[in-house]
């Protein structure tokens, strides 16, 4: 009897999940891109290099780019907007990097083994976890409760020839009718990489360990408790584009969630989660030759948060309400060691123990007007408060702002609407949105943060206004049996745009810096993005894919904004037959002639590189073996793109091999 109930329960929850999934996908087809990372991969979304980095998976989205400071911890941008203007969550949890130089984006603290998929939402199209302007990414953890009963697991290993990266991973799980548990481990170790023409890039090595565990318990048919832990540690990470490396980047990410799945026809699910994460980041300049002065720059970021999200359906309305809040504590220090050892150490707080409290309510309604037309409306209200908790730090900032208060409160609002119509062959949609964001800790309270790209020391400004964006977007798609195509565009008019402005009267602190920039609101800036995707399948086993994207960013003086992509494109032909896959891909950028001269950038030339890959997978009873190999940048092109910090060249020719064995 018990077993039957259990089986029913599993089936029931699977059905629930599938249904929810289906609803998600319906919206997702229209709006958000879902990048699948885990193993349950539909064939057409299969990564040719399954053990690649999380960042590399995300770059599959035409909305995304990565600012690279080396081989590790790339900083994601959505619609050409980076960390301050985007929200990246792990299963809805807010996490904030502890590095003042953005060397540790949220994505650097997870591994592909932790994740099943990533939802990339442009602009306000899924902004339920906090205030964003450019967009949001939710990295979803693996869902184990839907697995088959019994043991499951996998072993994976990979090697990359260019930087001798060795990848080892293992996972083991057990699923039962009332209980599931899972643990996975992944380790990467890489030496310096070589850019094209065999040019070794010094200080580009890294070593990463990631271990995570999940466990869940079905209290009864309707109630599930789940806990999740991720421990991630990177050591000896080189940042060749920066004047410093990283000794340690460590994250502990813990959550406990409770899911209630009611019988009610109206409410389809209610999830409440409490979480905590703590990040330690320590920079290291001891291996660099000829540094003007040795310094320690550690940073810490702790976040406590919770959310309670309820989803439901009534008639043609599909609604979501999400109450969420977080409390973050960000501290960063700088200690400089004078050459004369008898002199006192030079010490300052670069993030003066800034506490951020956010409470938000987010509501969304997806209205099916007719089988073909959907209207989505969402609204977000947030209360945002910053407090400088450290008196030393507050006194330091008062050098610049004698009148500043320790606490600053803001209210943040966003509103968006999207209309989509899908006739099967044609689909189109448009949307309008308004959004606000608060300044980041660095923008509001940073103290002499050196930017090695424009050579200025940045000072935060606690008097910044909220940045406000009005966004318009549209898409048009056409598909038939063989062809899928879609063009999308978005336009952001951002008023009180926050950017560093040169303060000519103030001297810089960093040796060699050009001057001081103070974060300020400029009147407005605009960012325009458009991309075109086309997929065509022919001759049964062949598939052609192309992607073209173009972006433009201007400030109120018609100056180009920094880190805006020029025209970029990629195209590939894939062959799939039974267990064999093969492909050839080309990707490139045109020259970035609209570079941001005023913001210290220079022209980047065009490039084009080619990759080939092949894969073979087969099932053997309950076991599955997958092998993949390929060569990236076949012609060993020496190149750097618009988003490479200080024009650090990208990897030259690289051969890879990935191997995965899984059972269940």
């Amino acid at each position: 009897m018990k077993n039957i109930t259990a089986i029913l329960l599993v089936i029931f929850s699977t059905v629930c999940w599938a249904q929810e999934k289906k609803n998600d996908t319906l919206a997702a087809v229209n709006l958000n891109e879902i990048i699948v990372i885990g193993k349950k991969t539909p064939l057409n979304l299969k990564q040719p290099k399954s053990l690649t980095s999380v960042e590399d998976y995300l770059m599959g989205s035409s909305k995304m780019n990565m600012i690279k400071r080396g081989a590790y911890a790339w900083e994601p941008t959505i619609n050409n907007m980076s960390t301050e203007r985007t929200v990246i969550t792990i299963d809805g949890m807010r996490i904030f990097g502890a590095c003042t130089d953005k060397m540790d984006p949220v994505t650097s603290y997870v591994e592909i083994s932790n994740l099943s998929e990533a939802t990339v939402a442009s602009g306000q199209q899924a902004s339920c976890h906090g205030a964003t302007i450019g967009g949001s990414i939710d990295l979803k953890r693996n869902q184990y409760k839907h697995r088959k009963n019994g043991w499951n697991g996998s072993l994976s290993s990979g090697y990359e020839s260019n930087n001798q990266q060795k990848i080892i991973g293992a996972a083991l799980g057990y699923t039962d009718s009332t209980f599931f548990a899972h643990v996975d481990f992944m380790h990467r170790d890489a030496e310096n990489y070589k850019a094209g023409n065999e040019k070794e890039i010094n200080f580009s090595q890294f070593t990463k360990y990631n271990i995570s565990a999940n466990a869940g318990y079905f209290i009864d048919k309707k109630n599930v408790l789940e806990t999740s832990i991720i421990y991630d540690k990177a050591v000896n990470v080189g940042y060749p584009a920066l004047p410093m490396d990283v000794l340690l980047a460590e994250a502990k990410i813990i959550s406990l969630s409770y899911k209630y799945i009611p019988d009610s026809a109206v409410i389809s699910g209610w999830e409440t989660k409490g979480y905590f994460n703590t990040i330690t980041h320590k920079m290291d300049d001891t291996k660099r030759p000829a540094i003007p002065i040795h310094m320690d720059m550690p940073g810490w970021s702790d976040t406590y948060g919770f959310y309670s999200k309820i989803k439901g359906k009534h008639e043609n309305h599909e609604f979501l309400a999400d109450l969420n809040s977080f409390y973050n504590k960000a501290v960063a220090e700088m200690t400089m060691y004078p050459v004369d050892p008898t002199e006192n150490l030079m010490f300052m707080y670069t993030w003066p123990d800034v506490r951020t409290l956010y409470n938000g309510l987010s509501l969304e309604d997806i209205i099916t007007i007719s089988p073909e037309t959907i209207l989505r409306i969402s609204i977000n209200l947030g209360f945002h408060s910053n407090t400088v908790a450290n008196d030393f730090g507050l006194q330091s900032l008062r050098i610049f702002y004698p009148e500043m208060d320790a606490t600053k409160n803001r209210s943040l609002k966003s509103l968006s609407g999207n209309y989509t119509k899908n006739t099967g062959k044609f689909e189109f949609g448009f949307g309008l949105a308004y959004a606000e964001r608060a300044p980041s800790v660095s923008e509001g309270y940073g103290f002499y943060l050196y930017n090695s790209n424009d050579f200025y020391d940045y000072i935060g400004n606690p008097n910044l206004k909220n940045e406000k964006a009005v966004e318009g977007n549209f898409f048009f798609g056409y598909k038939n049996g063989r062809l899928t195509s879609k063009i999308t565009a978005s336009y952001f008019y951002i008023s009180d745009y926050i950017i560093g402005k040169i303060d000519p009267g103030t001297l810089p602190m960093t040796i060699g810096a050009s001057g001081i920039k103070i974060y300020d609101d400029i009147n407005y800036a605009i960012i325009f993005n458009t991309d075109f995707n086309l997929e065509y399948s022919f001759l049964q086993n062949w598939n052609l894919k192309t992607q073209i994207a173009y972006s433009l960013g201007k400030d109120d003086q018609e100056n180009n904004l920094p880190f805006i992509s020029p025209l970029r494109y990629n195209a590939g032909i894939e062959f799939k037959k039974e267990k064999i896959t093969a492909g050839i891909f080309a990707s490139g950028n045109l020259a970035q002639n609209n570079f941001a001269k005023v913001y210290g950038q220079t022209k980047t030339p065009d490039y084009l590189i080619f990759n080939i890959n092949a894969g073979y997978s087969f099932d053997c009873n309950q076991n599955k073996i997958k092998a993949q190999a390929g060569i990236e940048n076949i012609f060993d092109k020496y190149y750097a793109t618009f988003s490479d910090w200080n024009k650090i060249p990208r990897m030259g020719r690289n051969g890879f091999i990935n191997f995965t064995y899984s059972f269940h």
Partner: protein
């Protein structure tokens, strides 16, 4: 230092105890009048004992704020209404000279304490020493007392004497901040001229330009400093000094007269990393 403190407490408690036994209410003093201060030393003649105190319990080259009491040796009573003047003198091999000082005043809201400032422009050494002469009047009778005082060298430059472009010998001394912080500090500087070997009056109506720098870190500066102007109340020159981090700061100065002629000091430039007139802070 701790021993000094204990001695000070012991002395105070003995005196209090003896006062109590005398049952002379006029000699009773609140025990905590010197609380927070450290005893420097005692100076005495046949009739009176001076107890000298300061924050640190010692005298140092540069600015010193000194608090003291006078005790009648016979009665052990503290004298509350003496008229006092003082004269510190440096005894060098070839000559003697004094240094800038304030008048001695009764400490407001204290019954038994007097206070004043002395700016020692140099420290003692093996062969050269300072002494302090106190001349005072109690109940219309004049007395005098002299004793050697120990003036230690300051680790950082807190006082500077120099010839100005107008031919006058000036002396400049750091008064505040005594406890510098990473913040906007109130900076206070005293400016004196050497009228003769024994007279160092305050100089009025000058201006002091300031450019704090960290020579150990590329000689970077700090923002939002305010140049120093003279206070009408105490005659010191006051300004705002921004220190953006702990460590060693060189406070480069330029001294200007009322018609903006530079008396001493040069602006800091790439070619000229420091002014010839400067003070130092390390914390």
């Amino acid at each position: 230092m701790k021993i000094l403190k204990h001695v000070a407490i012991l002395v105070l408690s003995i005196s209090l105890f003896s006062c109590s036994s005398d049952d002379n209410s006029s000699t009773q003093i609140p025990i905590d009048e010197t609380a927070g201060l450290q005893k420097i030393q005692e100076i005495s003649n046949e009739t009176h004992t001076f107890e000298l105190y300061s924050q640190s319990g010692s005298l140092i080259q540069g600015y010193n704020h000194i608090t003291f009491s006078i005790k009648d040796k016979k009665t052990n009573a503290y004298i509350k209404d003496a008229k006092i003047s003082w004269l510190p003198i440096m005894h060098m091999a070839m000559m003697e000279h004094s240094c800038p000082k304030s008048a001695v005043t009764k400490t407001s809201d204290k019954q038994t304490l007097y206070e004043g400032d002395i700016i020692f422009q140099m420290a003692e050494n093996d062969t050269e020493y300072w002494d302090l002469t106190l001349t005072y009047t109690v109940n219309t009778i004049s007395y005098t007392v002299t004793d050697i005082i120990k003036v230690q060298a300051s680790a950082k430059r807190t006082v500077s004497s120099f010839n100005g472009s107008d031919g006058v010998r000036y002396l400049i001394a750091s008064i505040a901040p005594q406890n510098p912080k990473v913040a906007t500090n109130d900076i206070s500087v005293g400016v004196y001229k050497m009228q003769d070997m024994m007279t160092f009056p305050v100089v009025n109506n000058l201006k002091i330009k300031m450019d704090p720098r960290m020579p150990s870190m590329g000689n970077h500066g700090s923002p939002n400093n305010t140049d120093l102007t003279q206070s009408t109340t105490d005659g010191f020159y006051n300004g705002k000094l921004s220190l953006t981090m702990t460590g060693y700061w060189k406070i480069n100065l330029q001294l200007l007269n009322a018609s903006n002629d530079v008396l001493k000091g040069e602006p800091v430039t790439t070619e000229n990393p420091a002014s010839s007139l400067f003070l130092e802070i390390e914390f």
